[in-house]
C-alpha cells in the first residue's frame, strides 16, 4: 500500500458513501416498515408479521416499503416493527400479531391514527409521542456496539454504509497499521469474549512475527447456554464485524481471515455470508480493497457444535478440520496459530468495537467505562426478569441497575435470589453483591466473570444448588476429554451435587466439593476446566445454607428439587366440586376426600409432573409445593374402591 493507494481508497469510499446516502435518502423519503427478523423476532412470529404488513400495504394500495431488519434488543417485546413516514417521527410498535400488524398498517397509513395502544415509543425525540428514551432502560443504555442493530436491513450494504459502516476502516488505511494498533491501545479495548485480554496486545504481538503469512479469526462460536449477543450482532450488523476484521487484518498484515460461526446459527451464517458477498461486490473485500493495494479474503467457517470449540486453540484446530481439542501454551496463537502461522483471534463484539474506535477516535471510546474496563458491555438478560433481551451499558454500571432499572426487576413480585453471570464459566452473585460494577476485574474479584455476557436471574423459586448442578452438567458433558482434572474431576463434582439434590448428600461433601473445585481450577489445561467449578464454588460460598438444608433437613428452600418436595392441595383453597385437577393427573393420583369434599394427592402415586398445578383454576390456586416431604400434612385415606 502506498500513498497513491491510500488516496484512491479514500476517493473510492467517498464515492460509495455518497451513493449510499443517496440510496437511503430515497428510501427514507418514502414510507417504510422495518420488521425485526433476527432469530429472536422470528421465534416470536416476526415472519408472519412481516407478511401481514406486506399484504395489508398491498391490499390498501399504500406506497410503503416493508423491509427486514435485525434486532434492536427489546426481545421481550417482540415481534417489533419500526414504521416511518416522511416528515413524521419513526414509531416502534411492539408485541405485534398478524391482526395488530394489519391494524397498524391500515390505521396509520390510511387514517393517520398512530395506534397508541400498540406503540412502544418514538425512535427520536418527539413532542407528541412518548419516546424510547423515556423508557427507564434507555436512560442507562448506551448503544455503541449495537448502534446499527435493528435500524437497518443487514442485507443491504448501502444502508450499513450510510449509517457509518467501513468509515473506520478507511480511516485505518489512511493512518497505517502502526497507528491503528496505537489507537486500539489508547482506546483501552479489552477482549469481550470473556477473558478481557487487551486487544492491541495480541495485534501487536502478531504484527511483530517474522513469518508473513498471518491470519485473523473471528470467534462467533457463542456456546454459552443463555447467551445470544454475538448472534444478534452477526444477524443484525454483519458489516461491523467485517469492518473489524478488515481493520485487524490491515494492522497485523493478514491477507486472509476466517469467521467461525456456530452451525446452530443458520440465520447468522446466511446473513454474514451475504454481507461478505455484498462487501466483495462493493470492492471492500478481496483483491485490492477499494483500490488501496491491500487485499483481504474472508471465509465463513461453520462450528462443530461443541462448547470447547469456542476456546481459541480448539477453534483453530476445528477450522483446520481436526478434532477441537485445546492445546497447551506456549506458543501463543500470535506466534503459532491457525495452520501453524501467526494468528489473531477476537470475539464478535471485540471486532464490532473496532470501527467506531477508528472513526470517532480512541478518546471517545475510552471516555466511557471504568479505570480498567473501557467502553460498553452487552448483556443478554434472561431468566426471571421482566425485560429479557439485549442491553448495552457503560462498563461500571452496577448489577443492581442492570437487573432492576434496566431489566425491570423480577416478574410477579417475587424476590431476587441470585444472578448467574458469565454462563457456565461464571459465578452466582447474591443480593449482597448487587452493587458490584460491570467491570472485568471487579466481577472476577466477586468470583464471577464477564464471560461472554450471559446474565441469568434467579428468583425465590429457583434452587441455587440445582442451578450449579445444571451448569456443571453442561460443562462436564462438553469437556473435550483431554485432561484429567476436567474430564474426571468435574464428573466427581457433578455426582456429589446430584447426590445432594436428591437428598443423599453428606456433610463432608461440602468440603470435598470445595477441594475438588480448587484442584480442577488449578489443574486443568484450558479455560473450560479452569472455570467449570465457578458456579459451584460461588454458590457454596454465598448460599451455604441452601446446601446444608438439602443435606441435613432434606429440604430444598426453593421447593424445586423433585426428590425433596411434594405437591399438596390446600384444603382451604380447594373448590369443593371442582374436578379440574383430577383429569389432568396422568397417574390418577388425585382422589376425593368424601367427607370434606376436597381433592387429595396420593403421594405414593404422584410423579411430580406439575399437571395439577397448571390445571387448578387461577382463582383457587390451591396446589402448593412443600419441602421437606415430611412436612406434608396428613390427609384422609383413599377410599377403597367399591367392588
Amino acid at each position: 500500500m502506498n500513498e497513491f493507494g491510500v488516496k484512491k481508497a479514500r476517493a473510492n469510499f467517498d464515492r460509495l458513501k455518497a451513493e449510499a446516502a443517496k440510496a437511503t435518502d430515497a428510501l427514507r423519503g418514502g414510507a417504510r416498515v422495518l420488521v425485526g427478523t433476527a432469530t429472536c423476532g422470528r421465534s416470536a412470529g416476526a415472519m408472519a408479521v412481516l407478511d401481514a404488513f406486506r399484504r395489508e400495504i398491498e391490499d390498501s394500495g399504500v406506497e410503503a416499503r416493508v423491509l427486514q431488519a435485525g434486532c434492536i434488543g427489546h426481545c421481550y417485546a417482540e415481534p417489533l416493527a419500526i414504521v416511518s413516514r416522511p416528515g413524521e417521527p419513526s414509531l416502534v410498535y411492539h408485541h405485534l400479531t398478524v391482526v395488530t400488524a394489519r391494524t397498524v398498517a391500515k390505521k396509520l397509513f390510511l387514517e393517520d391514527d398512530p395506534c397508541l395502544e400498540f406503540l412502544l415509543g418514538a425512535v427520536d425525540q418527539s413532542e407528541i409521542f412518548p419516546t424510547l428514551a423515556d423508557l427507564p432502560r434507555f436512560g442507562r443504555e448506551q448503544r455503541r456496539l449495537l448502534r446499527r442493530c435493528g435500524l437497518h436491513d443487514p442485507g443491504d450494504i448501502m444502508q450499513a454504509i450510510a449509517l457509518g459502516a467501513y468509515a473506520g476502516f478507511v480511516r485505518a488505511i489512511e493512518i497505517g497499521p502502526g497507528k491503528v494498533i496505537s489507537a486500539v491501545r489508547e482506546s483501552g479495548l479489552r477482549g469481550l469474549g470473556g477473558a478481557g485480554f487487551p486487544v492491541w496486545r495480541k495485534w501487536d504481538a502478531c504484527a511483530r512475527q517474522s513469518d508473513h503469512e498471518r491470519y485473523i479469526v473471528c470467534n462467533g462460536d457463542e456456546g454459552d447456554p443463555g447467551a445470544f449477543m454475538d448472534r444478534t450482532i452477526l444477524e443484525s450488523d454483519p458489516h461491523a464485524i467485517i469492518e473489524g476484521m478488515l481493520t485487524g487484518a490491515l494492522a497485523i498484515g493478514a491477507r486472509r481471515g476466517f469467521a467461525y460461526v456456530r452451525a446452530e446459527y443458520p440465520l447468522a451464517v446466511r446473513t454474514l455470508s451475504k454481507a461478505a458477498d455484498d462487501a466483495r461486490k462493493a470492492g471492500l473485500l478481496g483483491n485490492n480493497v477499494l483500490g488501496s493495494g491491500f487485499s483481504f479474503e474472508l471465509t465463513i467457517a461453520q462450528g462443530a457444535g461443541a462448547f470447547v470449540c469456542g476456546e481459541s486453540s480448539a477453534l483453530m484446530y476445528s477450522v483446520e478440520g481436526k478434532r477441537g481439542m485445546p492445546r497447551v501454551r506456549p506458543p501463543q496463537s500470535a506466534e503459532r496459530g491457525l495452520f501453524g502461522k501467526p494468528t489473531v483471534l477476537n470475539n464478535v463484539k471485540s471486532l464490532a468495537s473496532i470501527g467506531p474506535i477508528l472513526e470517532e477516535g480512541p478518546e471517545r471510546f475510552a471516555s466511557v467505562g471504568t479505570a480498567g474496563s473501557k467502553g460498553t458491555a452487552v448483556f443478554a438478560l434472561a431468566g426471571k426478569i421482566v425485560n429479557a433481551g439485549l442491553v448495552e451499558v457503560p462498563m461500571g454500571t452496577t448489577l443492581r441497575e442492570l437487573i432492576f432499572d434496566i431489566g425491570g426487576g423480577i416478574p410477579k413480585g417475587k424476590r431476587f435470589r441470585a444472578a448467574q453471570i458469565g454462563g457456565p464459566s461464571g459465578g452466582c452473585i447474591p443480593e449482597s453483591l448487587l452493587d458490584t460494577p460491570v467491570d472485568f476485574d471487579a466481577l472476577r474479584a466477586a468470583g464471577a466473570m464477564m464471560g461472554s455476557g450471559g446474565l441469568v436471574v434467579l428468583d425465590e423459586d429457583n434452587c441455587v444448588v440445582e442451578t450449579a448442578r445444571f451448569f456443571l452438567e453442561f460443562t462436564q458433558a462438553e469437556s473435550c476429554g483431554k485432561c484429567t482434572f476436567c474430564r474426571i474431576g468435574t464428573r466427581h463434582m457433578l455426582d456429589i451435587l446430584t447426590r445432594i439434590t436428591t437428598g443423599n448428600g453428606r456433610l463432608e461433601d461440602l468440603s470435598l466439593l470445595d477441594e475438588l473445585g480448587r484442584e480442577i481450577t488449578d489443574g486443568s489445561l484450558c479455560g473450560l476446566g479452569k472455570t467449570a467449578p465457578n458456579p459451584v464454588v460461588t454458590t457454596l460460598r454465598f448460599f451455604r445454607d441452601d446446601y446444608e438444608a438439602h443435606i441435613q433437613e432434606k429440604r430444598c428452600p426453593a421447593r424445586t428439587c423433585r426428590d425433596l418436595m411434594s405437591y399438596y392441595i390446600l384444603p382451604e383453597r380447594c373448590a369443593r366440586g371442582c374436578d379440574a385437577c383430577v383429569g389432568s393427573c396422568p397417574t390418577e393420583a388425585i382422589y376425593t376426600d368424601e367427607k370434606r369434599r376436597i381433592k387429595v394427592i396420593d403421594q405414593a402415586l404422584c410423579v411430580k409432573c406439575e399437571s395439577c398445578v397448571l390445571a387448578c383454576p387461577h382463582q383457587y390456586d390451591a396446589v402448593r409445593r412443600i419441602s421437606p416431604v415430611r412436612d406434608v400434612p396428613p390427609s384422609a385415606p383413599k377410599p377403597q374402591k367399591k367392588a
Binding site: 496486545r201 481439542m325 466427581h492 486443568s524 489445561l525
Partner: protein, 234 residues
C-alpha cells in the same frame, strides 16, 4: 540458534537448551517426577495427564491488569513442567505442598475411573500408574473419591493386539504414534466428557480398518490399555 540455559532444580545446577521444555531438563538431571503423556521432541506437547507438576520461581512473567500488562515475579503456583519452556536463571522445585497436592489429586482422579485388576492386566509391573503409586507413595485405591467403574467394550478383533479402554488414561501416545509416526490415523479420540476414549471411527472393529501389524500403539502405551495379545496369553 541453540542457547544453553543454566537453571536450578531442587538446589542443584543443571543446563538445558533455552526454550526447551522443562520436564526433559529435570529428567536429564536424574530427578524423576511423574509424567505419562509427554513425548520427547514432540511439539506442542500433549499436556493432558496433568501429573508433571513443579514449582517455578522467577524470572518474571506477564500479568494483565486492566489495560496494562506488567512484569511481575513468576507465580509460585505449580505448573506442568512438560509445557513450561526453560529460561536461563529459572529456579525449580519438584516437590512442595502445592505440587504434591495436585499430583495426588490428578492421580486419584485417574485411578477413580481406572479398572483396577492389576493381577490379570497385561500392563502389570510395567505400568506407569504403578510406578507413580510406588515412588510417590500414593495408594492405588484412594478413599477420597467414589469409584466410577468404567464399562467400555474391549476390541480384540485383531490377533496381535487388543484395546481395553477401561485401563486407558488418555495420554494420547497411541494416537500420536498412529497418526504422526506411522501416518495411518486408524485410532483416534472418540466422544466427549467422561465417555472420551481411544477407538476407531464409529466403533468399527480394528480388523476392518486397515490396521497393519506395526503394533506401535501397544509399544507406547504406558499402562495396559493397548497390549500385545501374545503377551496377554502367556
Amino acid at each position: 540458534m541453540r542457547r544453553e540455559a543454566t537453571i536450578i532444580i531442587d538446589g542443584k545446577e543443571a543446563t538445558a537448551e533455552d526454550g526447551s521444555r522443562l520436564l526433559w531438563a529435570i529428567l536429564d538431571a536424574g530427578i524423576w517426577i511423574p509424567n505419562l503423556c509427554a513425548i520427547r521432541g514432540v511439539e506442542p506437547p500433549h499436556g493432558g495427564c496433568r501429573l508433571c507438576w513443579v514449582e517455578v520461581e522467577g524470572p518474571a512473567v506477564s500479568k494483565v491488569e486492566g489495560p496494562a500488562v506488567s512484569k511481575v515475579e513468576g507465580p509460585k503456583k505449580p505448573v506442568t513442567s512438560c509445557t513450561r519452556p526453560v529460561k536461563d536463571g529459572m529456579v525449580v522445585r519438584t516437590r512442595s505442598e502445592g505440587v504434591d497436592r495436585l499430583v495426588r489429586a490428578g492421580f486419584e482422579m485417574l485411578l477413580s475411573t481406572h479398572r483396577l485388576d492389576c493381577r490379570v492386566c497385561p500392563g502389570n509391573r510395567r505400568c506407569g500408574l504403578q510406578d507413580i503409586a510406588r515412588l510417590r507413595k500414593i495408594p492405588l485405591r484412594g478413599k477420597r473419591l467414589d469409584k466410577i467403574e468404567p464399562d467400555f467394550p474391549l476390541d480384540e478383533s485383531r490377533p496381535e493386539l487388543g484395546i481395553n479402554p477401561n485401563h486407558c488414561i488418555l495420554c494420547g501416545r497411541c494416537v500420536h504414534a498412529c497418526h504422526v509416526e506411522v501416518k495411518k490415523g486408524i485410532i483416534d479420540y472418540v466422544s466427549r466428557g467422561l465417555r472420551t476414549h481411544v477407538g476407531t471411527f464409529d466403533g468399527a472393529p480394528l480388523n476392518t480398518q486397515g490396521c497393519g501389524d506395526c503394533v506401535r500403539c501397544a509399544q507406547v502405551c504406558p499402562v495396559g490399555a493397548i497390549y500385545l495379545r501374545k503377551r496377554a496369553a502367556d
